[in-house]
Amino acid sequence: MMKRTFKIALFVFWVVAVLLLIALTSVALAQTGTPPPTKQDVTADDVNRIAKQMYCPVCENEPLDACRTAACQQWRAQIGQMLSEGQSEQQIKDYFVARYGARVLAQPPAQGISLLLYVLPIVGLIVGVIFLVWLLRRLRARGTAAPVATPAPPSGDEYIDRVEQDLKNF
């Protein structure tokens, strides 16, 4: 019985872990680049698609595609220019990163100091899960003597209690 319940607990962790994995891989898959548009059909939408993933230093916390300052307009014009020259999304981003640093990207590259950003939450999660399992087992193991027979807390309502009772027999 106990083995079984522990299995259930493990199952819940696995569900969480699998969800995390699926989400991360699907995000990674979704990010494979789109082919660069040909010279003649660069639209505002093409520019915005790239600008959405960038920040210009003038606009604090506002993506480049939404920021309306003159500096940001110039950046967007430049993106449009580079697209019409046939440059790819990655080339354009690399150009801006080389000039202004990684801060122009909404999603910092997972390298160097920014790697920590991705690693920390995952490390936190792993440490947390280990701690949680340890805590659960400890709470479970403590006083393996007869469990304190506390009745299920009454809800203070006879109807609810009867409903609960009915549900048990359900």
């Binding site: 319940t5 522990f6 259930i8 607990a9 819940v12 569900v15 969800l19 995390l20 699926i22 989400a23 991360l24 995000v27 898959l29 979704a30 639209t43 505002a44 939408d45 915005n48 920040y55 604090e60 916390n61 506002e62 993506p63 595609d65 939404a66 309306r68 640093g101 990684a102 801060r103 990207l105 909404a106 999603q107 910092p108 100091i113 920014s114 920590l116 950003l117 939450p121 936190g124 999660l125 947390g128 949680l132 659960l136 709470l139 479970r140 193991a141 403590r142 006083g143 469990p147 304190v148 506390t150 299920a152 807390p153 809800s155 309502d157 109807y159 609810i160 009867r162 409903v163 549900l167």
Partner: protein
């Protein structure tokens, strides 16, 4: 004159708070009820005193008193009366005073009546809450005093000061600078007070928790006593977040409602731990378990509320360097560290008090589910913390500031929220003590099958990326279970008492508001989840420049651009059409509006005029959209401006976004249901005489 009165009231409020703090501690340590009573009365006196101080600022705004620096900054001769009042929280110093005033309302409500029970806790609840209040009043007086006046020295230099510098004369500006146009929108007038009310309210549960530790109170009475104030604070915090999201959607013009911006995050962080606390404390109340966890959760909520206030009030987050410039930095961070270290030390000293009364009987029990729930809330909290404060640290370490945009948060937080939604479904079905997998399986197989069916269906019709299908599947699962819980309760009542289903429903809720109010909050969150997943993943965005009469197609909508209207009072470019735009606005903004018509097959055309509101003082602009809302989606149109006869229009389709707002309303109603005073007390007293008669 009125300014002097306000300043004096503020100083007396500080003295009253300090007096109350000292007397509460003396009364608590020396067991002197008279001292404690005196402390309680002094604590209650803070509200009227701060009210006087706030009124002084408002009167100064109303009477064009431009010798007061604060009035000079937030008001001017053309500011309407209503905005002169709300300008009380329109600038940094005034908003901190206002923040204090709101905190004193909570303190007043908690202490205004003499306590009949929990008298051992009283001195310490007073000490912690009024201590916090005293700190913030002193902060107002010494670092952010709204009563500073403008003085001109002998050389004619004008500077603000609370007291008249030697040889200076009072300076009265001809007119004020006026309220920041950003703060004139109704959303921005109502949103900060809600958020502040949520923030300051967290002092009450924290004070109770600390008091229970100091007074070595082993009972649950403090949990019961602080439950309602905590829910009030949580309600306002949630409302503040929701209204902030709505405001962003209505005026900021980027097609979204939540940008994971550090200011938003710093309000979300205490909400996360407070929500975990509200759940986890139920286990302490019913089973005497997880006492350390609850202390940790409420301490984190309180200290991150302090940190959040600091971040939102000083703008430190945009750059670490502004930290050095802000005089508020050191006191704020000291207080934050003190609350954190103090609470942890106290927990260590009283560790024997925090031992669990019961052991965990099974991993598959309500208790274990609650623990898992707190755990997930804490991992989300940790993740958002890393994201929010990481850019600050990266700047310190490397000299280069990093931007952490929404994609990063969505990837990291999304899966964790998915786990929470799963728990929201399963946990309420798991029995206390222990549950058998068979019993649980019996209750969840139907919703699980439904959820899997939804996932498969969505996957087949091509919902992409795959986690959209997973997300909707999980929401379906928990939604089905929550609705079934209502249904089972209603059916049971219907069978037992023969009430009709509507009566059974209302009675069910009335008889157990806490439980069914809680479920209603869950419903609200799940409905919001539908809106978030939909708007995040299926948003369509397109931008075109059109000549008058030109058309663009967005999804099923045809948009016809008519014309642009530019109004600029500073250049005198004010055609007859402009008058209508300035009815409720100051003259210090320029308007660039674009008139357009939306047509959809089978529907009457709708005319909208999205516009840009450009602040002439150069502090920024607002971009309110033109929106056509339907049940399924919003067509959200922005007018970006006109150039050589071409108007630029940006159009978004935000699918399912209505669910977000409706879910928010359900959440608020659910919270009201859960916290509404139960009529049990009244019912019992009313029933007593009958019973007495029966006994006779």
């Amino acid at each position: 004159m009125i300014v002097d009165l306000g300043l004096i009231a503020l100083v007396i409020a500080a003295l009253a708070a300090i007096y109350s703090f000292v007397m509460a501690i003396l009364g608590g340590t020396q067991k002197r009820p008279a001292y404690i009573e005196s402390a309680r009365r002094a604590a209650v006196a803070v509200l009227p005193l701060l009210t006087l101080a706030c009124l002084a600022i408002i009167v100064s705004n109303l009477t064009d008193n431009y010798s007061l620096e604060y009035t000079y900054r937030v008001s001017n001769s053309t500011t309407p009366t209503f905005l002169r009042i709300t300008a009380l929280w329109g600038g940094q110093n005034g908003s901190i005073l206002f923040w204090n005033w709101l905190m004193s309302i909570y303190i007043f409500c908690v202490f205004v009546r003499p306590w009949k029970s929990n008298r051992d806790l009283l001195p310490w609840v007073i000490a912690v809450s009024i201590g916090t209040q005293a700190f913030f009043i002193l902060l107002t007086i010494f670092f952010a005093n709204p009563f500073a006046r403008l003085f001109a020295d002998a050389a004619g230099n004008i500077s603000p000061s609370v007291f008249m510098p030697a040889g200076a004369t009072l300076f009265r500006a001809a007119d004020g600078q006026g309220l920041n146009p950003l703060l004139r929108h109704p959303g921005m007038i109502i949103h900060p007070p809600m958020l502040y009310l949520g923030f300051v309210g967290l002092v009450i549960p924290f004070a109770y928790a600390i008091a229970a530790l100091i007074a070595k109170n082993k009972t649950n009475s403090w949990i019961i006593a602080m439950r309602r104030p905590t829910l009030v604070a949580w309600l306002f915090l949630s409302l503040g977040l929701l209204l902030g999201a709505r405001w962003a959607y209505d005026v900021l013009g980027w097609g979204g409602y939540w940008g994971w911006d550090p200011v938003e995050n710093s309000a979300l962080l205490p909400w996360l731990t407070a929500t975990a606390f509200l759940h986890s404390v139920i286990i302490q109340e019913k089973r005497g378990m997880f006492k350390i966890l609850n202390m940790v959760l409420i301490t984190l909520s309180f200290s991150w509320m302090i940190l959040g206030t600091f971040v939102t009030r000083t703008g430190v987050i945009s750059s670490v360097h502004s930290f050095a410039r802000s005089s508020l930095g050191v006191p704020f961070l000291s207080f934050w560290a003190f609350s954190l270290v103090g609470a942890i030390t106290l927990m260590a000293i009283r560790s024997d008090l925090l031992k669990s009364d019961n052991k965990l009987e099974s991993f598959l029990s309500r208790e274990a589910m609650f623990l898992l729930n707190s755990f997930v809330f804490l991992t989300i909290w940790f993740t958002v913390n890393v994201g929010t404060y990481y850019s600050m640290f990266s700047e310190l370490l490397t000299g280069e500031k990093l931007t952490i945009g929404p994609p990063v948060y969505n990837q990291l937080v999304g899966p964790q929220v998915a786990a929470l939604i799963l728990l929201m479904g399963i946990a309420p079905l798991v029995a206390w003590h222990k549950s058998s997998p068979e019993a649980l399986g019996k209750m969840i197989w139907k919703p699980a099958v439904l959820a899997v069916a939804v996932m498969v269906l969505l996957f087949v019709i091509g919902a992409n990326p795959i986690f959209v299908a997973i997300g909707f599947g999980l929401v379906t699962f928990s939604l089905a279970i929550t609705l079934t819980e209502y249904w089972r309760g209603m059916r049971a009542r219907h069978k037992l008492s023969g009430e009709n289903y509507f009566k059974a429903f209302t009675h069910l809720i009335a008889r157990n508001r806490r439980r069914y109010g809680g479920y209603m909050i869950h419903l609200g969150v799940l409905v919001m989840g539908i809106g978030v997943i939909g708007s995040l993943n299926f948003q369509v965005q397109t931008q075109r420049s059109l000549a008058p009469g030109g058309q663009m197609q967005v999804g099923p909508y045809t948009i016809t651009y008519e014309r642009a209207l530019t109004c600029d009072p500073s250049t005198g470019q004010m055609s007859a059409d402009c008058a209508a735009w300035y009815i409720e606005r100051g003259r210090d903004i320029a308007i660039v509006a674009g008139y357009m018509t939306i047509e959809k097959a089978g529907q009457a055309p709708v005319r909208v005029a999205p516009y840009r509101e450009i602040f002439l003082n150069g502090t920024g602009e607002l971009t309110p959209p033109g929106v056509l809302s339907t049940v399924g989606e919003d067509l959200y149109l922005l007018f970006l401006g006109e150039q050589s006869g071409f108007g630029t229009i940006k159009a978004y389709i935000n699918p399912l976004i209505q669910f977000l707002w409706v879910g928010g309303i359900i959440l608020v109603i659910g919270t009201l249901v859960a916290m509404w005073p139960t009529p049990t007390a009244r019912r019992q007293t009313a029933a007593l005489p009958e019973r007495a008669v029966a006994v006779k």
